[in-house]
C-alpha cells in the first residue's frame, strides 16, 4: 500500500511537470481513478486515527489538546467544564455533523425510550419522503437509506426481539455499511427540506456560495463528505423537528473581559408559523454538539 502511494505521488509530480510541454499522453497513466484511489487510501489512513464515532471521554482530554496552545481556549474549556461532563469525538471526514447527530439522536432514544418522540419523528420522516417524491427524486434512489434509518430507530427501542444494547449502537455507528447509509439518509432529508423551502434558504445559500439552491444541494448537501454549515443544521432540524444545541469553541473573545462560550439553539419551526420558534420545555435540545472551526463532536451535559 505504501509503495503504491509513493508511486502515485511521483506520478502526480511527473504529470504536473509535463504541463508546460503539453505532453498530455502521460496523464493516461495517472488518471482520475488513481487520484480517487489515493483519496480512499488517505481516508483509510485517517480512519485508523479516529473512529466514525469514538468513545466517551472526560472533558480533560479536550483541555489536554490545548495545553501548550491558546490561553483563550483553555479558559473557555474551563467554562465548558462547569456544565459538561464528557465529549465523544467523531471522524473529521466531512460527515461529522450528520454522524454526531445520528449517534446523539439514537443514543437519546435508547436511553430515554421516549415513545412520543419516536412517533413524532416517524411522522416527519414520512413527510420528508413525500417531499423528495414531489421534488422528482426517484423513490429507489433514496428508499434504502430511509429504510435503514427506520430500522435503527426500531432497534433502539427496548423490549423487542430486534432491540439492541448501547454497545451494539456504538458498534453499528462505526460500521460503514450502516453509519454511511444513515449519514446519507440525513443528507437526503436535508436536501429535500432546503429545496422545499428554497425561498427561505436562498439568501443564506447566496451568502455561502453564490450558487442556486438546486446547485447547492447537488454539490454541497447530497455528496458524502461535504461539510455542513448552519444551512444544513437548520434544514435537518426543521425537517425532522429535532432541536440541536451547538456550542462554539473558537479563539474569539468578548470585550467585557470575562470568557464565555457562545451557543446557538436550532429550534425547528413549529407547524405553519414560521416565527414560532420559541424555546419551550417540549423542544429543549437533547442533542448538544461542540463546534470547533471545521468540525463537530458530541457533548454530554452534567
Amino acid at each position: 500500500m505504501q509503495n503504491q502511494e509513493a508511486l502515485m505521488e511521483d506520478g502526480e509530480m511527473e504529470s504536473a511537470m509535463s504541463i508546460p510541454t503539453l505532453e498530455c499522453d502521460d496523464w493516461a497513466k495517472f488518471g482520475d481513478d488513481d487520484i480517487m484511489q489515493q483519496q480512499s487510501a488517505i481516508q483509510a489512513e485517517e480512519a485508523k486515527k479516529v473512529l466514525f464515532v469514538g468513545d466517551k471521554e472526560p472533558l480533560s482530554t479536550l483541555a489536554a489538546e490545548y495545553q501548550s496552545g491558546s490561553s483563550i481556549m483553555i479558559e473557555k474549556i474551563k467554562v465548558l467544564d462547569e456544565h459538561y461532563a464528557a465529549i465523544r469525538r467523531t471522524r473529521g471526514d466531512g460527515n461529522c455533523f450528520f454522524r454526531s447527530f445520528m449517534f446523539s439522536y439514537l443514543e437519546y432514544i435508547l436511553q430515554s425510550q421516549d415513545q412520543e418522540e419516536v412517533e413524532r419523528i416517524r411522522a416527519n420522516i414520512e413527510k420528508c419522503r413525500k417531499t423528495l417524491q414531489s421534488l422528482g427524486y426517484a423513490e429507489f434512489t433514496f428508499e434504502d437509506f430511509f429504510t435503514l434509518f427506520l430500522e435503527q430507530l426500531e432497534c433502539v427501542i427496548q423490549g423487542k426481539e430486534t432491540s439492541i444494547s448501547h454497545d451494539e449502537l456504538v458498534l453499528r455507528s462505526r460500521d460503514q455499511s450502516i453509519s454511511d447509509y444513515i449519514v446519507m439518509f440525513f443528507r437526503f432529508v436535508t436536501s429535500g427540506e432546503i429545496r422545499r423551502r428554497s425561498e427561505f434558504f436562498e439568501p443564506f445559500i447566496l451568502g455561502l456560495t453564490s450558487t442556486t439552491v438546486e446547485q447547492f444541494c447537488k454539490s454541497s448537501v447530497e455528496p458524502m463528505g461535504e461539510e455542513s454549515d448552519h444551512v444544513h443544521i437548520t434544514a435537518l432540524s426543521d425537517a425532522l423537528g429535532v432541536s440541536v444545541r451547538v456550542l462554539y469553541l473558537d479563539r474569539s473573545s468578548c470585550e467585557s473581559g470575562g470568557v464565555s462560550v457562545n451557543h446557538h439553539d436550532f429550534i425547528p419551526v413549529a407547524g405553519e408559523l414560521p416565527n414560532a420558534s420559541v424555546l419551550s420545555p417540549t423542544n429543549k435540545p437533547f442533542i448538544t454538539l461542540l463546534y470547533r472551526p471545521g468540525h463537530y463532536d458530541i457533548m454530554y451535559p452534567k
Binding site: 482520475d32 481513478d33 426517484a138 443528507r187 437526503f188 447537488k218 455528496p223
Partner: protein, 157 residues
C-alpha cells in the same frame, strides 16, 4: 455488496420500464454480471457529435451507490473532457460531486449534456481543449465531426 446489488436490480427494472421515455439512451446490463453495464448514447443535435452513436462502459463498485460508477467512452471521441486514448471522462458527478441521487441513467444524461457543453478549462484532451480555449470553434468542430464520422457512425455499404 448486497445493498449495491439490490439497488442495481431496481435500476435495471427502472431502465426496462422507461425504455421509451429516453430514446437517446440505451442502457443494458451484462447478462452474467450486474456490476458491468454498457450504454449506447446518441450524439446531441447541433453539436459535432450529431448523427453518431457512442458506446459507454460502466464498471460499478461494490460500494455503489455511495461511490460512483466508473464510466468510459469505448467509442473514440474528440472532446476536451474525454481522454482521447482511454476514453476516461472528466465530470464532477463521477468524482467528488457524486451522490446516490444519481442513477446510471441520469449519468448518461449528464454525459450527453457534457458533449453539448464542453468544459475546456479542465481538459483531459489538451488538443481539443486548446482549440476551444484559443477560440478556434471551427477547428474544434471539424476535428470532432471527423472523429464522429470515423468512429461513431455505421459504415455505409
Amino acid at each position: 455488496m448486497q445493498a449495491s446489488r439490490a439497488r442495481l436490480f431496481k435500476e435495471y427494472k427502472e431502465v426496462q420500464r422507461e425504455k421509451a421515455v429516453d430514446p437517446d439512451i440505451q442502457l443494458s446490463c451484462d447478462d452474467s454480471n450486474i456490476f458491468k453495464w454498457t450504454a449506447l448514447i446518441k450524439g446531441p443535435s447541433e453539436t459535432p457529435f450529431e448523427g453518431g452513436v457512442f458506446q459507454l462502459a460502466f464498471s460499478v463498485p461494490e460500494q455503489y451507490p455511495l461511490q460512483p460508477p466508473q464510466v468510459r467512452f469505448l467509442t473514440k471521441i474528440f472532446h476536451p473532457n474525454v481522454h482521447f486514448k482511454t476514453g476516461e471522462i472528466c465530470l464532477d458527478i463521477l468524482k467528488n460531486a457524486w451522490s446516490p441521487a444519481w442513477t446510471l441513467q441520469s449519468v448518461c444524461r449528464a454525459i450527453i449534456a457534457l458533449m453539448a457543453h464542453p468544459e475546456p478549462d479542465s481538459p483531459l484532451n489538451c488538443d481539443s481543449g486548446n482549440l476551444l480555449r484559443s477560440g478556434d470553434v471551427r477547428g474544434y468542430q471539424s476535428m470532432a465531426r471527423m472523429y464522429t464520422k470515423l468512429a461513431a457512425m455505421p459504415k455505409k455499404g
